[in-house]
C-alpha cells in the first residue's frame, strides 16, 4: 500500500496507535494484504487484493466502506482494518457494510485505537451478509485512552445464510473502557453457525453495556454468545445475552462470566432464552462475583499472593 504524501505524518501517528493496540504495521503496508486505514473522518490508506472489492466515501464526521468478498474466493491473508483518531476531542463515525458471497472465506483483523483522546465518541455501525457456505471471522481489538474519555457505540447486524459461518470477537482489555455500548445481533438461516465472544475489562468508573443476540431462525442453525467481563473499582456493567430458538433442531448457548473486584462495582447479567419452536434447544450459564475461592486457594497454596493469583486468573479469562 502507498500512503498519500500529504498523509504521511498522520499515518506515522496512526501507525503508532495501531501498534499500541497490538496491530502489526508491516501488515498494513504489505501489498498482499487488503487493508483500510482510517484517521478521523478520512481514509488515508486503502489496498485491495484479488477477490476483494472495496468502495469507500465520506460521511459527516466519518467514513463509510463497503467490502465485498467475491463468490468462492478464499482470501489467504487477513484483511486489516485500522481505525484511529488523533485529536483529543471529537466524534468519529464509521459505517461498514460487509458482504461475503456464497462459498467465500475471509478473516478480518480490526484495531481501533484512540490512546490520546480525552473526549471522543466513536460510533461504528456494521451490516454483515454472509452467503451460503461462506465463512467470515472478525476480530476486533480496541485500545482506548487511560483517562476514560472515550465513548464507544458499536452496533452490528449480521445475516448468515444456509451453512454460512460467522465468528466475531470483541476485546477491550488493555486500557480503560470509558463508556461502551455494544450490540451484536445475528440472524441465522438453515444450518448456519455463529460464535460471538466479547471480553472487556473495566476500571475506575467505566460504564459497560453489551447486548449479544442470537436469532436461530433456520432449521439446524447453531450459535454461541459468550461474554467475559472483569469489573474493578467503580465499574458499572450490564450484560444481556439473548438466544431465540425459532426453528427446529436449532441449538443456542449463551454464557456470561463477570468477575468483580472491589466493593463499589455494580454489575448485572441477564440471560434471555426464548423458544418458539419446541424442537429448538437453548442453554445458558452465568456467573457473577469475586474470583472463585477454590482457584485462589489453589494458587495461594503454591506461593502466590491473593493479588497475584487474582491477576493470573483474570489474565487467563481474558486471554
Amino acid at each position: 500500500m502507498r500512503i498519500a504524501p500529504n498523509y504521511s505524518k498522520e499515518f506515522e501517528k496512526i501507525a503508532e496507535a495501531y501498534e499500541k493496540s497490538g496491530g502489526e504495521v508491516s501488515k498494513l503496508l504489505d501489498k498482499r494484504v487488503a487493508s483500510i486505514i482510517i484517521s478521523g473522518d478520512k481514509i488515508i490508506g486503502l489496498n485491495s487484493v484479488d477477490g476483494v472489492e472495496i468502495e469507500s466515501g465520506k460521511l459527516e464526521k466519518g467514513v463509510w466502506a463497503k467490502i465485498k468478498i467475491l463468490k468462492d474466493k478464499k482470501i489467504e491473508m487477513p484483511i486489516h482494518l485500522c481505525t484511529g483518531f488523533l485529536g483529543k476531542e471529537g466524534e468519529q463515525r464509521v459505517d461498514f457494510d460487509f458482504t461475503v458471497e456464497d462459498g467465500a472465506n475471509v478473516k478480518f483483523v480490526s484495531h481501533c485505537s484512540f490512546p490520546w483522546s480525552t473526549k471522543l465518541t466513536h460510533k461504528m455501525f456494521a451490516t454483515v451478509r454472509i452467503g451460503k457456505g461462506a465463512t467470515m471471522i472478525y476480530e476486533d481489538a480496541h485500545f482506548h485512552s487511560e483517562n476514560g474519555g472515550v465513548t464507544l457505540i458499536s452496533d452490528t447486524h449480521a445475516v448468515i445464510e444456509e451453512k454460512g459461518r460467522y465468528k466475531n470477537s470483541f476485546e477491550l482489555i488493555k486500557t480503560r473502557v470509558g463508556e461502551l455500548k455494544v450490540r451484536m445481533d445475528v440472524d441465522l438461516k438453515k444450518d448456519a453457525i455463529a460464535e460471538l465472544n466479547s471480553k472487556v475489562r473495566g476500571k475506575k468508573n467505566d460504564e459497560i453495556s453489551i447486548v449479544e443476540s442470537l436469532g436461530l431462525n433456520g432449521e439446524g442453525s447453531r450459535g454461541i454468545a459468550k461474554s467475559t467481563v472483569v469489573a474493578t473499582d467503580e465499574t458499572h456493567a450490564r450484560i444481556i445475552n439473548e438466544a431465540f430458538g425459532n426453528a427446529p433442531y436449532s441449538k443456542g448457548h449463551i454464557e456470561c462470566t463477570e468477575i468483580t473486584k472491589g466493593d463499589n462495582v455494580d454489575v448485572s447479567t441477564l440471560p434471555v432464552l426464548k423458544v418458539t419452536n419446541d424442537l429448538s434447544e437453548l442453554t445458558h450459564e452465568a456467573s457473577i462475583g469475586r474470583v472463585n475461592s477454590k482457584q485462589l486457594n489453589t494458587l495461594m497454596a503454591k506461593g502466590m499472593s491473593e493479588e497475584e493469583a487474582t491477576e493470573f486468573i483474570i489474565k487467563g479469562l481474558l486471554g
Partner: protein, 245 residues
C-alpha cells in the same frame, strides 16, 4: 515439625474434628487414612490454612510456633502446600503457565516436561489449557506435576488417586517418593489402604479424631478389616479409644 495440637472444629454447629492431635516430623512420608466423611480433608484444609477451617479450639504449630492465624499464602511462604482433592479449572491458562505460575517459578520447558512425565502425562499437555477440555484425571495429574515444581517443606496430597485409574497407583508412589527423596515431608490423605502402605507412619481417622496411629502396614490392615464395615461414619468417638498400632 508440624503439629496439630488438640484441635476441634465446628462447622455450622456440627462437630467435625474433636480434640485431634497429630505430629509430622521433617523428611518423612505420612498417611492419613480413613473412610469418606471422617474429617480427613478437613485436616488437610486446616493444615494449609483455608479460612473456613481454622480450629475453634487448639492450634496449628510449625517448629513450636503457633501459625493458626496465618492464611494459605502465609503458610505457603513457610513451606506448606497442598494438592487439593478437587482440581479446579483455570480457563485460558496453559499447563506450562500453570506449572510455572505465569513465570513466578523460574523453570525451563524441560523442568515442566519432566514434572509432567512423572505425573504420567506427555509434553503435549504443556500447550493445552487447564480447563474443562481436560478430564478430571488429567487435571489431577497436572496438579500433582505442579506440586513437583515447587520447593516446599511439607506437601499434602489430598486423595491423590481420586479421578485417576487404578493403574496409576505406581505414579502416585513415584511422586511421593520423588518429593520425599528431596527432603520433603509428604502427607497423603487417602481412603485406600493400598496407598496407605506407602508411608513411614500412618494415622487412622475415625469420626473426626485419631483412632489409631503407627506402622502403615498395621494401620492399613486394621482399616481394611474393621473400617470397611463402618457403621458410625459421622459419630464422634472418644479420644481415649486412640491406640498405638
Amino acid at each position: 515439625m508440624l503439629e496439630l495440637r488438640n484441635v476441634s472444629l465446628f462447622l455450622e454447629e456440627k462437630r467435625i474434628l474433636s480434640n485431634l492431635s497429630m505430629e509430622f516430623d521433617d523428611g518423612k512420608r505420612y498417611v492419613v487414612l480413613g473412610n469418606n466423611g471422617t474429617g480427613k480433608s478437613t485436616i488437610a484444609n486446616m493444615i494449609v490454612g483455608v479460612e473456613r477451617y481454622k480450629p475453634q479450639v487448639g492450634g496449628v504449630y510449625l517448629d513450636g510456633k503457633n501459625i493458626t492465624s496465618l492464611g494459605v499464602y502465609e503458610r505457603a511462604k513457610l513451606g506448606i502446600t497442598i494438592a487439593f482433592q478437587e482440581s479446579v479449572n483455570f480457563e485460558g491458562i496453559t499447563t506450562f503457565d500453570y506449572l510455572t505460575l505465569g513465570g513466578k517459578i523460574k523453570a525451563s520447558y524441560n523442568d515442566a516436561k519432566r514434572a509432567l512425565e512423572l505425573a504420567g502425562l506427555n509434553s503435549e499437555y504443556l500447550k493445552r489449557r487447564v480447563d474443562d477440555s481436560l478430564s478430571g484425571g488429567e487435571r489431577k495429574r497436572i496438579e500433582l506435576a505442579s506440586i513437583l515444581m515447587l520447593k516446599m517443606r511439607y506437601v499434602i496430597l489430598d486423595e491423590p488417586d481420586s479421578g485417576i485409574d487404578m493403574m496409576s497407583l505406581d505414579t502416585i508412589s513415584r511422586i511421593i517418593n520423588t518429593l520425599n527423596s528431596s527432603g520433603v515431608t509428604v502427607i497423603t490423605i487417602t481412603h485406600r489402604e493400598e496407598i496407605a502402605r506407602n508411608g513411614d507412619y500412618a494415622y487412622l481417622i475415625c469420626s473426626g479424631t485419631v483412632l489409631r496411629e503407627g506402622v502403615p502396614a498395621n494401620i492399613a490392615s486394621y482399616y481394611k478389616k474393621l473400617c470397611d464395615r463402618c457403621d458410625h461414619p459421622n459419630e464422634i468417638v472418644e479420644s481415649s479409644e486412640r491406640a498405638e498400632a
